[in-house]
């Protein structure tokens, strides 16, 4: 295992799916934020974060994810998450992310609901 985070993006019209692989910490969170803000500047208003290959998130990563959610909400868009490990799912619920972003079990379920 390594600590480096990798991000991949699948653009779908005015939406996009952002795939993460690795640790969402300060460095990883900033990488996600930069890519998410680029997408927002490019008109994306529905962003799904697929965390299937992420097993660890720390508190700084969470605060960055909250900033991304708020920024998207300011622009009238929405952010959702899918494919979380049970530990990360619980973490998001406790830290309040689940109040502002919907969490889906699978990418298929999210894509159907978000029309991606």
């Amino acid at each position: 295992m390594t600590e480096e985070l990798k991000v991949a993006i699948d653009r779908k019209g005015s939406g996009a799916v952002l795939y993460t692989k690795g640790y969402i910490n300060n460095v990883g969170g900033e990488e996600i934020a930069n890519r998410a803000y680029e997408l927002m500047d490019d008109g994306v208003r529905t962003l799904l974060l697929n965390l299937r290959e992420t097993k660890i998130v720390n508190s700084i990563g969470i605060s960055i994810l909250i900033e991304i959610i708020e920024k998207m909400m300011d622009k009238g868009g929405r952010i959702a998450f899918c494919c979380l490990t049970p530990v990360i799912h619980k973490t998001f619920q406790i830290m309040g992310l689940a109040n502002y972003a919907t969490i889906y079990d699978s990418e298929e379920a999210a894509a159907k609901e978000l029309a991606l």
Partner: protein
């Protein structure tokens, strides 16, 4: 609307926008530049350390990063610039330093004073909102820490697979203390070996000096790392011992605690306390996993023993053959841990061939070797070859087939009723006994055990075996049977029992009972085998 009122109105409308949009600090200067004759300047805001730190400045406006002077109580005006304090109540929140574009009037300064009051309120509100959000975040974060510790007691302790457990431990620890890298070390002798790591480690073992420190301290150790840190190029380091029931069973180590401003900080007291609590939970989880693994290994071993016992049961003769003028009796008592005793009977012209063997080792490996011996013996003896040739061929076959340290002690005896002879081969086995006319002769070993040396050759030995003679073959499980004091039954207790007048069945029962009486309640450690035959006349037939 009078121009002055309109000017105030426009200025405040723009300032209000700042509050609504939680604006960038540069926007503050833009609003002041738009509505006052001060187009350039700098905005300083009080930071967490109560210092006035530059938040925004106009292009080409020279301003230091930190303002050392305390903000003035009132606006200070000079012909080319003004210093405007920003206060919320009595608390200074910042300073505006603005450069004049030209001559300005008193009403411009009034506009600045009013704007500063409004801006101060906006900044104070934003700060309060931010602090409330951070407080909320911290509260939730503390709750999450508690939940994590609680979860470790449940979900981790429920993870009995040590591989999965190691990942779970690392992931949760990294999250809990905001570390960038971490490793789990488990005890291996007197050292601690890396079992799982997140990020590279420079060595498989924890540094000896650090190990000593941890064992002595018994609690977390944290320091700013140097070049010898186990994580390459790490800045800060922490390690905590995992204390099992009797000793430290492992170590959790982590490096580079992330801070909110994007830097790396030392692991603070709160994190060390959390790590200690975490290590306590991990100790329980690891002990549970270890016990579970031991139970699984025991289960697997029992399954293997059961299978080996089945193999051996299927191979050994199901019944004792009966010959009209030859009596044969046998005893086979397998030990709980399957050993490697084997015996067989073969019909031959004018008599029978008897065999007792003991394969080295226990359990499945021994059972497999017994199986190989059985197949080879059935083939070779069945061909009617002389016993010496059988043993030589058997030796060659077993040596090439079995593992290096596997061998078989074996005694074969062929009775020829008509010739009244007994041919035998003893390859490293206990001496057999020949009972005739009140005399007890031994059939001693005259060669190495089967399978020990590829070149071994065995010669058939021959003895007179007149009608009424008895041959007794046995395994070392008889003579080496131990009593509770650890004493062996021995040949000295066996030989007085060898009365040639008794039938083979009587001898078998007598020896079996004597061994039982000697061993008492001591556990049987090895297979016990006895094969006894007395000559007579007639053909061999199997009884059910």
């Amino acid at each position: 609307m009078p121009p002055l009122v309109r000017r105030f109105s426009d200025f405040f409308r723009d300032l209000e926008q700042l509050e609504r949009t939680a604006a960038r600090t540069e926007a503050v200067l833009e609003v002041f530049a738009r509505h006052t004759p001060f187009p350039r300047g700098a905005l300083y805001l009080r930071d967490r350390d109560a210092r006035l730190r530059l938040a925004a400045k106009s292009r080409q406006f020279i301003a230091p990063e930190i303002l050392d002077d305390e903000p003035p109580a009132e606006l200070i005006a000079s012909p080319d610039r003004v210093i405007v304090p920003l206060r919320s109540g009595r608390d200074p929140v910042g300073v505006l330093a603005l450069a004049a574009a030209g001559v300005y009037e008193e009403q411009d300064l009034d506009l600045l004073r009013a704007g500063a009051v409004f801006l101060s309120t906006v900044i104070a509100n934003q700060r309060l909102t931010q602090e409330a959000r951070e407080g909320d975040f911290q509260l939730k974060y503390r709750l999450w820490e508690l939940e994590t510790l609680y979860d470790i007691g449940l979900s981790i302790a429920g993870t009995l697979n040590i591989e999965e457990l190691a990942d779970e431990i690392l992931f949760r620890m990294i999250s809990l203390i905001n570390a960038r890298r971490a490793a789990l070390f488990l005890r291996e002798g007197g050292r601690f070996k890396v079992y799982r790591s997140f990020g590279d480690v420079r060595s498989d073992f924890l540094d000896d000096e650090l190990t000593t420190q941890l064992l002595e301290a018994g609690r977390p150790i944290s320091f700013e790392a140097g070049a010898d840190c186990i994580f390459p190029a790490c800045t800060t380091f922490v390690a905590v011992p995992i204390r099992g029931d009797n000793e430290v069973i492992g170590v959790l180590a982590a490096a580079d605690r992330e801070t909110r401003d994007g830097g790396i900080g030392v692991f603070d007291e709160n994190e060390l306390r959390l790590l200690s609590l975490f290590a306590n939970q991990v100790a329980i989880a690891l002990e549970n996993a270890r016990l579970h693994r031991d139970a699984l290994e025991k289960q697997a071993m029992e399954r293997e023993l059961e299978l080996a016992a089945t193999i051996q049961r299927d191979i050994l003769p199901k019944s004792v053959p009966s010959l009209e003028e030859m009596e044969i009796a046998a005893l086979a008592r397998p030990a709980r841990q399957v050993g490697g005793d084997y015996h067989a009977f073969f019909e031959r012209e004018n008599g029978a061939t008897l065999l007792v063997a003991d394969v080295s080792g226990k359990s499945m490996p021994a059972a497999l070797l017994v199986s190989a011996l059985h197949a080879a013996v059935q083939l070779l003896v069945g061909e009617g070859r002389p016993l010496g040739e059988v043993a030589t061929e058997l030796n060659r076959h077993i040596h090439s087939w079995s593992a290096e340290n596997k061998f078989i002690t074996l005694i074969m005896a062929a009775i020829d009723r008509e010739a009244e002879t007994l041919e035998y081969v003893n390859a490293g086995h206990n001496p057999g006994y020949l009972l005739n006319d009140g005399r007890v002769d031994t059939l001693k070993s005259h060669g190495l055990p089967i399978g020990m040396l590829a070149q071994s050759k065995y010669m058939t030995q021959i003895r007179p075996f007149p009608s009424g003679s008895t041959v007794v073959l046995y395994s070392d499980g008889i003579t080496e049977a131990e009593n509770e004091a650890g004493e062996e039954f021995g040949n000295e207790r066996l030989e007085p029992l060898l009365d040639g007048r008794a039938s083979p069945a009587e001898l078998r029962d007598r020896i079996g009972a004597a061994v039982d009486a000697f061993t008492g309640s001591a556990p049987q450690k090895d297979d016990q085998t006895l094969v006894i035959a007395r000559s007579g006349s007639g053909r061999m037939r199997n009884q059910p």
